[in-house]
Symmetry: C2
Subunit: 358 residues, 2 copies
């Protein structure tokens, strides 16, 4: 068995409720496969601001750096959303840890479990067989460019900026992944308007030459946002920048039936960082109804990508599949048109997956 | 009857094929209602670059300024998309005319014709009753901020920038429209990350106070891209910036069954500018299969908004409805699952609408 240190950061909102289940699944895998996983806990986001005034306390960052992988929940709170003038904000914690750990590649696999074919607002015949792997650049773009607010507060700006090396390194990762899949890569930008996108397109065209076996397509973001719904099956690997990736992957959650099903892996120079893409969802936080499957599937990604434990990772995915096949559903993935589902809360659902793991 | 000067700019790709039908519809309305519409033609985009080296020749701009309204087709060409290093680009013509004419508000109504309920990739029960009016800011944002490419060509940037007055004026227009509709306004931004979005949100919160009868909601762009597909009926008026509006309205075309159905109006200080949102679509250009309905519906918007001719505008919309009810379809809106549609090309479809106008 392997020995690994895992940092768990539940964060804000439903992150507090679902991340426990990601951790329990990791504990169960460790027990079954004779691995030794040691867990530490860290704070980040609104809870960290409340406790220390800092959305990413140094202590959390230190723990992160000495861990082998990080399981994260979510970040954000209505208080800051309602008051755009607040200076210290939960999201700064998330952006800072992405930057400090060099997590430049955010992988978001979008795949529909057969059992959820009816849960989406999109027609089943459009969805069946869709299987997309997003590579979202995560430490550049307008997220990290200089922000300016004039003294009179009447003008505000953010710099959308990309450097060649930033595009190159994530493009290579995306092409490598495409090679192990259906060998199609779609790069999304807005090169007809933006200079940063024209650089993006030039660099991807250059990297593409190293991968002649992969078919490359370039698409404008507006068209991509449309095609994703019109014909999701046309996509295999999608490569895009930080902002466009943020938008497209949330939209793509409808392909997987619900945001509550989607896991992501952020990787780069060292420690990997695993999180659901759903966010803190303050409207349902504290009610015990959030879907724990995205956190559990994030744990599966962690086992696979950071620890190379493919059998263990597959075991988790199979347990999720089995749970869905048995008809268990959280609210977000329940099918309003059939009476065959057993609708349950976060903990009951998490417990069913644990049962199916053994 | 009224006397009006209309500038027609077919532009590139399928713009050349569909815009003729928007014009024919306007001619027919003029004849039936005893108005005098005088038409001029102008060039813009790739065709203008080929003819003059300039994507927006001064002559076209002059004609635009002395017209009462402009009917535009589309812009863009594969040549520029494949070579991001080209300096002179068709889109510059479109961006320049928007700026020069002060067309800061782009209205994009998204409404599904009952007859097309089955044409979309989204389930009919999700779509039925959806009716959204987008207000996309059109002369600011990262589209018009400073663009920089370093001398070594390895770094590129665009400035995402908003001024208070830019947000204020379009917010007021959107709130006024919301008052005549279901009195709900959703403002979309990324205020948890972007300073320009925080200004946007502050200003919308201020303007909202002048419209206490309208219910205001603020939503992050990633969430909005998801909600639009999950539950389009929750939206009434959507107010957003230039880049986010570009993305969301293309995505929203799936609510209307096809991009080929969507018209838009760009208004501001003076002359209104009317165009389909579909773009030049070079993959199908020259084949005679493009859907002319978006251009025809753009003509309907022109009659309503620029000329105040509501009866005439409604007459056009009714003719489109009648044509769809008779089962006539272009390829993009044909329903693959029924055999009741008569599939036809651009000209046959346009001719059917003309018949129904009389
Ligand atoms: C919370 C927010 C800063 C974050 C982002 O925009 O990156 C989130 O939406 C995500 O996608 O991880
Ligand atoms: C052609 C392009 C510059 C344009 C835009 O991005 O504004 C188009 O996509 C649109 O939406 O009108």
């Amino acid at each position: 068995g392997v020995e690994k240190k895992i940092l768990v950061i539940p964060g804000d909102g439903i992150g507090q409720e679902v991340t426990a289940w990601g951790q329990k699944v990791l504990e169960s895998i460790a027990a079954n496969f004779h691995h030794t996983f040691t867990f530490e806990e860290g704070i980040m986001g609104h809870v960290a601001i409340e406790a220390t005034g800092n959305p990413l306390p140094d202590e959390t960052l230190e723990k992160a750096k000495r861990s082998d992988a990080i399981l994260f929940g979510a970040i954000g709170h209505a208080k800051y959303d309602n008051d755009p003038t607040l200076k210290v904000r939960p999201e700064q914690g998330l952006l800072k840890i992405r930057k400090e750990l060099g997590l430049y590649a955010n992988l978001r696999p979008i795949k529909l479990f057969d059992e959820l074919l009816e849960a989406s607002s999109i027609k089943p015949e459009i969805l069946r067989g869709a299987d997309i792997l997003f590579f979202r650049e995560l430490t550049g773009d307008v997220y990290f460019g200089e922000k300016v607010r004039t003294a009179d507060r009447n003008t505000a700006s953010d710099l959308m900026i990309y450097h060649r090396y930033e595009v190159e390194r994530i493009a290579r990762k995306a092409y490598e992944a495409a090679r192990t899949r259906r060998k199609k890569l779609c790069s999304v930008d807005k090169a007809n308007v933006l200079e940063a996108s024209r650089l993006w397109r030039e660099v991807v065209q250059d990297v593409a030459k190293e991968y002649p076996d992969v078919e490359t397509e370039h698409m404008f973001i507006d068209n991509a946002a449309m095609q994703l719904i019109k014909d999701p099956k046309r996509f295999d690997v999608v490569l895009t920048g930080n902002l466009f990736g943020d938008i497209l992957t949330d939209e793509a959650s409808q392909i997987a039936g619900s945001m509550g099903m989607l896991a992501s892996a952020s990787v780069g120079d060292s420690t990997g960082f695993y999180e659901p893409i759903h966010g803190s969802a303050h409207d349902i936080a504290g009610k015990g109804i959030a879907n724990p499957l995205a956190s559990i599937l994030s744990a599966a990604l962690l086992l696979d990508i950071s620890f190379g434990l493919k059998t263990e990772s597959q075991r988790v995915i199979k347990a999720v599949e089995a749970t869905l096949r048995q008809g268990y559903r959280t609210m977000d993935i329940a099918n309003k048109h059939t009476v065959n589902d057993f609708i349950m809360g976060t903990d009951a659902m998490g417990a069913k997956v644990l049962e199916n793991l053994n």
